[in-house]
Subunit: 462 residues, 2 copies
């Protein structure tokens, strides 16, 4: 948590940016897993945390901009709650702790909204992603529950994105704390990586580390099938000669995230063929650290990486033809079908739930529809205070190879005969998190998880 | 997964029990955590698993009893899904793998339901606990989304409860596999328990073990404040002289559960005062193993335990008066405010989402409204094949002590002056899982986590 003043200031700025109307910020409820009372680990909504800072479930906040009033809504606990879940402060105490003047029971949300409707105030809410919120908003505002996301307030979304995009020094500190946990997670997985051990076993070790200090920021990707972008750990034992791709992140108890990817040779040493591909990804990863700076379009950074990758894949013989034309046509997306990176903060894909187009794009840079490029989660110009992931990758996806080959797609740029022999390769991605500074960028984290091939081999074999 | 024949047989029996109409079984979707695409670990619905056996998300099954037809509904994947999540079989292949003749896209659910409505077939569904299912059912059947639980089919609920209550030998085997993981989890936590280490750190270790072989069956309870029934791990360091209560369970990859509770002295040795209370709980725990058998009401077992506990608390001086009267009045619930145990299977509180009254009670035994007894999750007569948890506990809950004392509640039976000195004690619960056999019961698990005080102390200090 930050100081009370931080939350007061943030809400004041939000009010200024939105200008008028009534803002509803819904905190999350417990999320049922396999029956109502068996719930997943509670995760507060990130925007609610940013403006209200409270970790208790089933709260809501209302900011009446026109009348300059703030309300915290929630229900008090009774003796049964104390017996089962322990004592927690009253709603009034919670409200005071973050500088909110009024507190009321949850049911009063309807009264506040009805009063605002009667006064024809504009009502702002963010796009919901928990369906009980869809139902609640539908009941309050009179639309079908599944329309709630499209009815969300663009003005509010834009204000939140503007504020949350720029990380304060205190926020960066928390992200670096997440990276510290992430370092332990990844190095534990890398050291435990050996043939015969299951993917799930290694993922468990790494998730145990995360949970000992916080939690994971997203479902662990850990697989010999690194070519599957979100390849969740299976019960398959790791096999000699293959690569283990691990994309995992920590979340601190205050919900700031890390996100890293490393690739470990299961035999303890890269083969020549693996090394050739690995070094291309390494060069692409390092190019971002060398070049990313304020004012640069992230789309251009992505395309610079695509060009370097294409050049180097030509050296290996997997691509051919004119590099600029290949990238223009999107041929490199056979190998690199996703975006170079995304914003990171309290959400690991920061603010993705508010709508990618508002977070990663603007009037100047619009999303593309080209395969691969359409997965870019950010395209707009970088600003100091942005935290971005830097995560190029090269994948050999048998179904995609077969599909494109059968269509003759990009055959001017792709050497399908050689590519055929890589179908058992898997995939490589390297990922670190960078802060855009006034002059360039800084790789976040006190310790960088080893990734230069020699250093990595030494580390896992030491 | 079980054999195709198992699922076919289970559905055949379900059809017989329900008799007529159209049964809708909704499989679970991915559950969003902090934005739509960042999801919690997928958990299939247990009844869907029981009858359909498929682990893929966003499926539904329809059983038209009147026309003896079965349908699996789901959407096929495309190349983007393959790139991001890997290849999965077609809906038709999934259907065939579990003996379902028809497959169709998800949108066809509406057609099937509309056709059934036109033919005035009764439509059966189970109470939903994921709100997108509330919305779906509301749209299909024409009620408010929040009415969906009360509109569920009692006939279907009763049929499912009747079947899932009796565990087959194969199911018991899977529960024992969960207990094997649970043994590793608990012994890891007990061995790591020492002052200065945080509760969260130990919980992380234990959850890591769970995730290495499956997952946890419910949110880990791990706390020095054992008196909070669901005391989640905090970042407090463990303190010399206190007790660590750990209530945690494993879930296998096929979603069968374990549930155990152990209490470890943080200093490595129980104090005399702790031992006195511990031995009461131990005796209560062992009484169940000695006595539970088919035909006995679980409510009576609970009350037998309450009587023994009251007798022994009188020996310590914390209770007084006539034991029978004290238990009748519910005075023991000051110390033991919850039920003795619950059914366990694919849900750790098995089938709780279908409605406790249908699962744990019947015409003969109805739920109580008395404080403590109202938390009993099961009261009815035991049958061979039931799996129950055996989990008595004694707690010293400062807020409850203050409340009851101020009301003069049960002052004939409770020695409040002595009780006052126990406010810093915490709580003790011991929990194992038993199978009701033809003649009595069997404690499940190949290895029993040490709990007899001497054995436990030796184990953690070895």
């Amino acid at each position: 948590m930050f100081t009370k003043e931080t939350y007061i200031q943030r809400r004041a700025q939000l009010k200024k940016l939105v200008g008028s109307g009534l803002v509803i910020l819904l905190g999350n409820n417990d999320a049922p897993k396999n029956y109502p009372a068996n719930v997943y680990k509670f995760r507060q909504d990130s925007s609610f945390l940013y403006y209200i800072g409270l970790q208790r479930e089933s709260l809501a906040a209302v900011i009446d901009i026109d009348n300059d009033q703030e309300y915290l809504l929630g229900n008090e606990i009774d003796i049964d709650d104390i017996v089962w879940f322990g004592y927690v402060p009253s709603i009034k105490e919670y409200a005071e702790s973050v500088g909110i003047a009024h507190s009321a029971p949850s049911a009063d949300l309807k009264k506040l909204v009805d009063a605002a409707k009667a006064k024809r105030q504009e009502i702002h809410f963010l796009p919901p992603y928990r369906y009980e919120h869809n139902i609640l908003l539908a009941d309050l505002l009179g639309f079908h529950p599944l329309e709630a996301r499209e009815k969300a307030s663009v003005k509010l979304i834009k204000a939140v994105v503007q504020m949350r995009s720029i990380k304060s020094a205190e926020e960066v500190e928390k992200i670096e704390r997440a990276l510290e946990i992430g370092y332990k997670m990844h190095t534990t997985a890398m050291k435990a990586c050996r043939s015969g051990v299951t993917e799930q076993y290694i993922a468990g070790l790494l998730e145990g580390v995360a949970n000992s200090y916080g939690s994971t920021s997203f479902p662990t990707i850990l697989s010999m099938h690194g070519e599957i972008q979100h390849g969740y750990p299976s019960t398959r034992p790791l096999e000699e000669g293959r690569l283990m791709l691990c994309d995992a992140g920590a979340e601190t108890n205050s919900n700031y995230c890390s996100d890293n990817t490393r690739v470990t040779p299961i035999s303890g040493k890269f083969t020549q063929r693996q090394l050739e591909i690995y070094q291309i990804v390494e060069a692409c990863h390092d190019l971002v650290i060398e070049k990313a700076k304020p004012g640069m379009k992230w789309l251009d950074m992505h395309l610079d990486v695509a060009r370097l990758m294409t050049d180097m894949l030509k050296d290996v013989g997997l691509m051919k033809g004119n590099t600029e034309d290949a990238v223009q046509a999107g041929a490199h997306a056979m190998f690199f079908p996703h975006g170079l990176g995304h914003m990171m903060g309290m959400d690991v894909h920061d603010m993705e739930g508010l709508g990618q187009n508002y977070v990663g794009f603007d009037d100047e840079v619009q999303p593309s529809t080209q395969f691969g490029l359409n997965c870019l989660r950010c395209g707009r110009r970088l600003q100091p205070g942005f935290v971005m992931t830097d995560e190029p990758g090269i994948y050999f996806i048998p179904h995609l190879i077969d599909l494109w080959r059968s269509e003759g797609r990009h055959k001017k740029f792709i050497n399908y005969d050689l590519l055929e022999t890589y179908k058992d390769f898997g995939g490589i991605r390297l990922e670190d998190d960078i802060l855009i500074t006034e002059t360039g960028n800084r790789v976040l984290g006190k310790q960088i998880i080893p990734y230069h091939p020699k250093e990595l081999e030494e580390f896992i074999n030491e």
